[in-house]
Symmetry: C2
Subunit: 157 residues, 2 copies
DNA sequence: GCAAGAACTCAAGCTCACTTGAACTACAGG
DNA sequence: CCTGTAGTTCAAGTGAGCTTGAGTTCTTGC
């Protein structure tokens, strides 16, 4: 664990500083740490200290959340970062690319929805046979019992 | 179907039928009714009966949820539908158009995110001054407590 | 007329992503 | 040394969006 790895300005940040700079509440940061999304070391007096790079992790978490990922999934992604060294450009690149496809999917999904909606505006949702949105709902029913709620995704349709 | 142009011959549906056709659990339908998203009349024996058009309301709710709207907002939209008559094509059109812009915004937001991400992949998130995602986090203000916007993305998705 | 199954109510429970509160400790400035 | 601000832990609370369970009643088919 070469500490010299980090520039001589080995400047650790308190939870308050991180909270302020990231816009994430201290309570949320503690929660994230609990969940294994970020890490800290402690001072002699047991106060958290974060590396600067933690800000990047947090930015990643926030961005990923906006894509619609759950914290558990985000943790999964972050876990693939090296534990022993500060993540490199390549590390972040790989990660970013990995959810870039998620982003694309999500965008595509919303665009499909928009197209359906356009059709819906056209048909005025009056024609039960024609309206995509309407029929989408009806089709869900055909997906049998079992795990209900969750299948809003309708992937591949 | 000749049935469609006979509005007076109301064919009411039980909660089970609606649940089956919409793919939404009966418990959720009761919940929706509680929240004022749908309505029902009751039989002599106090069982719910729904109009066929309720299926459309439910389809609307589901679609709107996928856009990221909260139930309260969706209720707001649905409340603008006429209470006294079955919604017309124009009614639905207006509603659909109203959240079509929401959809566009949402898509645009994700696309911005994607662009930032592309830049991020390029810069490898190494340049703290340059990385958009990073700086975005720095400026992110407060959002209210509770669940975050996007977890409307549904568990299991 | 009766059993099975569908529906009813109401309260409580669950997941997610946090926040809040209580009670206490650490650290920095005058 | 004192005070105030920032930080600590742990437990419980919050809000959205439902589900589950218990106990009861309606409806349907034989």
């Amino acid at each position: 664990m070469a500490e010299e790895n980090v520039p001589s300005k080995d400047h650790w940040l308190s939870i308050g500083e991180i909270a302020h700079r990231s816009g994430v509440a201290a309570s949320a940061l503690r929660f994230y740490e609990d969940q294994g999304l970020i890490r800290s070391r402690r001072t002699a007096g047991n106060q958290r200290q974060y590396q600067r790079s933690t800000l990047r992790r947090i930015a990643f978490v926030q961005a990923a959340q906006r894509v619609g990922l759950a914290l558990a999934e985000i943790k999964g992604a972050l876990d693939s970062l090296p534990d022993d060294r500060t993540p490199t450009r390549a590390d972040w690149s790989r990660l970013s690319r990995s959810w870039r496809s998620r982003l694309d999917e999500r965008i595509a999904e919303l665009e499909r929805l928009r197209d359906d909606l356009d059709g819906c505006i056209g048909c005025g949702c009056l024609s039960l046979q024609r309206c995509n949105l309407y029929n989408k709902a009806d089709r869900l029913a055909e997906r049998g019992p079992g795990a209900r709620i969750l299948n809003v995704g309708i992937p591949g349709e």
